[in-house]
Amino acid sequence: MNTMLIPLEHVLVVASMLFALGLFGLMLRRNIIFMLMSLEVMLNAAALAFIAAGAHWQAADGQVMFIFILAIAAAEVSVGLGLVLQMRRQMHTLDMNTAIRLKG
């Protein structure tokens, strides 16, 4: 493991690509399940950047932040999927375009 001298910016570029893909998915898709998946991808990209920074400075802080991101992702997904079920029950669709009217 001691021979790993990956350039830091390559990892950051990978994280940027993942983040951009997540953003692209969020803008492209109108299905709420896919939008939640895109959010997951973006959170994951942020976590990758944190881990890379932690590896660069040989500090544990990056992994601590990763654990926080994990907790946030878990909370977000549980509430988000609860909302998906509610949306399906009340509007019989998963299309965000029909849910933009509040109290519809």
């Binding site: 990056g62 878990a74 997904v77 998906v84």
Partner: protein
Amino acid sequence: MSFVLFYLAAAVAVGATAMALTRANAAHALIYLIVSLLGVAVLFFLMGAPFAAALEVVVYAGAIMVLFVFVIMMLNLGEESQREERALLDFGHWWLPGFLTLLLLAELIYVMGYSTSTLSGGTVLPKEVALKLFGPYVLGVELASMLLLAGLVGAYHLGQHFLARDRGRDD
């Protein structure tokens, strides 16, 4: 050797993510997303963060994706929703977000591609993470626990109707 592993895992992660977000079938997208998360876990491992890699597999690819699987199974999305999704995936819909995202990505790469520093190559062990987590970051741990509690209460509240309906069916 580990260089090759790194770039291979990065390519798998990015490719699988791209596939996941452009599928019409939610279940297929989910499998691609799991592959992507496993690829990122390999990246974590190669960067000297074995604990984070294990958490990525267990919590992200395991627990969080299982939640998605449950919901997709409960919703029972049929052929019709796949047709709708496919109709939304034609070029007319995705060229503008694609262009904007590419612009953003180019900027990010431009900003990040300057320096010539490398990763340290050492491994950060779980013990150091735990000492940090329950030392200087203990307030963050408390906040995260409150967030998770709020998430639990919120998910329970939102799922109440399903529980009530199932109970009514049993009677």
